[in-house]
């Protein structure tokens, strides 16, 4: 119960910080909508649905990257991460709470982004929505972990994309697959498996990322 209370307190703090500073969500929204507008005008007329589905996933991954790059900025500014690391709570609670907050921001951006995509390109099926939700879980799990790793370095702005994008390739493969095939079951399961494997790995090893 203490663990859940710690996660709740930390996630509530992240949501409150975003409510106050409005640093992350507006930037993600603007970015994803602007990306779709650019894609809309850059794709040749009569392009296939397959190409448009690929662009959806490119936009999602880079929008997430934008949010992940901001995730640990409040902790970095005042070295607050030291204060959280010293607290007697399980350190994985910091990761889980940050992941939940990032998931909320990404989900909020997608609530706007998916209808905009449908407006500019083609309709979105339930399989794509399920794939987006599962992909968000994986993106936030891995991205938050790598964000904490990158924030301790001087090359943080460079390091996060370099570490995150290779690990996001399976998510893009699963997401595009689920969006374009007629029976997307195995791609959905693939994304769920990715979430479980990487979620457990990140949860179990986060302590080593935030301690010297």
């Amino acid at each position: 119960m203490n663990y859940v209370a710690d996660v709740r307190a930390l996630a509530r703090k992240d949501l409150l910080l975003e409510l106050r500073a409005r640093d992350t969500l507006p930037a993600m929204l603007l970015f994803v909508v602007a990306t779709f507008v650019v894609f809309h005008f850059s794709l040749p007329a009569h392009s296939s649905q397959l190409a448009a589905s690929g662009l959806l996933w490119v936009a999602i991954v880079f929008t997430a990257l934008l949010g992940l790059g901001r995730a640990f900025v409040p902790e970095r500014e005042q070295h607050v991460l030291d204060g959280l690391v010293l607290a007697p709570c399980d350190r994985s609670a910091i990761w889980l709470a940050k992941g939940i907050a990032t998931f909320a921001f990404l989900g909020a951006a997608e609530v706007v982004a998916l209808p905009v995509f449908a407006l500019f390109f083609h309709g979105i099926g339930i399989a794509t929505v399920a794939a987006v939700v599962l992909a968000d879980v994986g993106i936030c799990a891995v991205g938050t972990f790598l964000g904490a790793m990158a924030v301790a370095t001087r090359a943080r702005d460079l390091l996060l994309p370099l570490l995150f994008l290779p690990l996001a390739i399976p998510i893009v493969v699963g997401g595009v697959g689920a969006s374009v095939v007629s029976s997307p079951g195995r791609y959905i399961w693939f994304l769920a498996l990715y979430d479980v494997v990487f979620g457990v790995l990140c949860w179990a090893t986060f302590e080593y990322v935030v301690t010297e």
């Binding site: 307190a9 910080l17 106050r20 409040p74 070295h79 607050v80 204060g83 010293l86 007697p88 010297e212």
Partner: protein, 194 residues
């Protein structure tokens, strides 16, 4: 409470601590002095558990929940109010009667009227007072204070004097300062770094 033997720390080629031995008994008050860059902050971070030594050993006989660490930075969120920051730490440290304890500390350090203001609007001295509230919130047995008088005005420094007077003998304190005379009445040991 703390036992260090042949303690050393290096960052790449740069060595900031070398062969340091000291003991700090429970209830002791050690003052860490030395010029800029001699490793005072590094030593305090090692004692707080935020850094590991490159050489030697250190035994700190206090769990994380019993350590209060005052850093150069206040370790509070600028976009949250004083009350929200202390409430977060109070929850994480499972402070009993959290609200009463927070209220008492904010009153004591003269921040009660500013409790609903965001820390971003605080002066440096007010932020340092809030950092002291954060450190004392969970009633730690071991207090590791890095330049606690930094940015405090005369009234704030007197408040801290009174607080240290109340704590010394009962709690264990490791305090780094450029003004050892200020804490001389409480000190039981001095660690002079070169």
């Amino acid at each position: 409470m703390i036992r260090a033997r042949k303690l050393g720390k290096r960052f790449g080629d740069k060595r900031v601590l070398r062969g340091l031995d000291f003991d700090l008994a429970p209830g002791g008050f050690a003052v860490v002095t030395g010029p800029n860059g001699c490793g005072k902050t590094t030593l305090l971070r090692i004692c707080a558990g935020l850094a590991v030594p490159s050489e030697g050993t250190i035994d700190v006989d206090a769990p994380r929940a019993a350590i209060g660490y005052l850093a150069h930075d206040p370790l509070v969120y600028r976009e949250l109010t004083a009350l929200e920051n202390l409430d977060l730490y109070g929850r994480l440290y499972r402070v009993p009667e959290r609200r009463e304890r927070i209220g008492m500390l904010l009153e004591r350090f003269g921040l009660w009227d500013a409790r609903h203001q965001r820390v971003a609007s605080y002066s440096r001295g007010m932020t340092q007072r809030l950092a002291l509230c954060r450190v004392l919130l969970h009633g730690p047995e071991l207090l590791v204070l890095d330049e606690p008088y930094s940015a405090l005005d005369a009234a704030g420094a007197e408040l801290l004097d009174a607080q240290l007077d109340e704590l010394h003998g009962d709690k264990t304190l490791l305090v780094s300062t450029h003004d050892p005379g200020r804490v001389a009445p409480f000190a039981t040991a001095q660690i002079a770094l070169a």
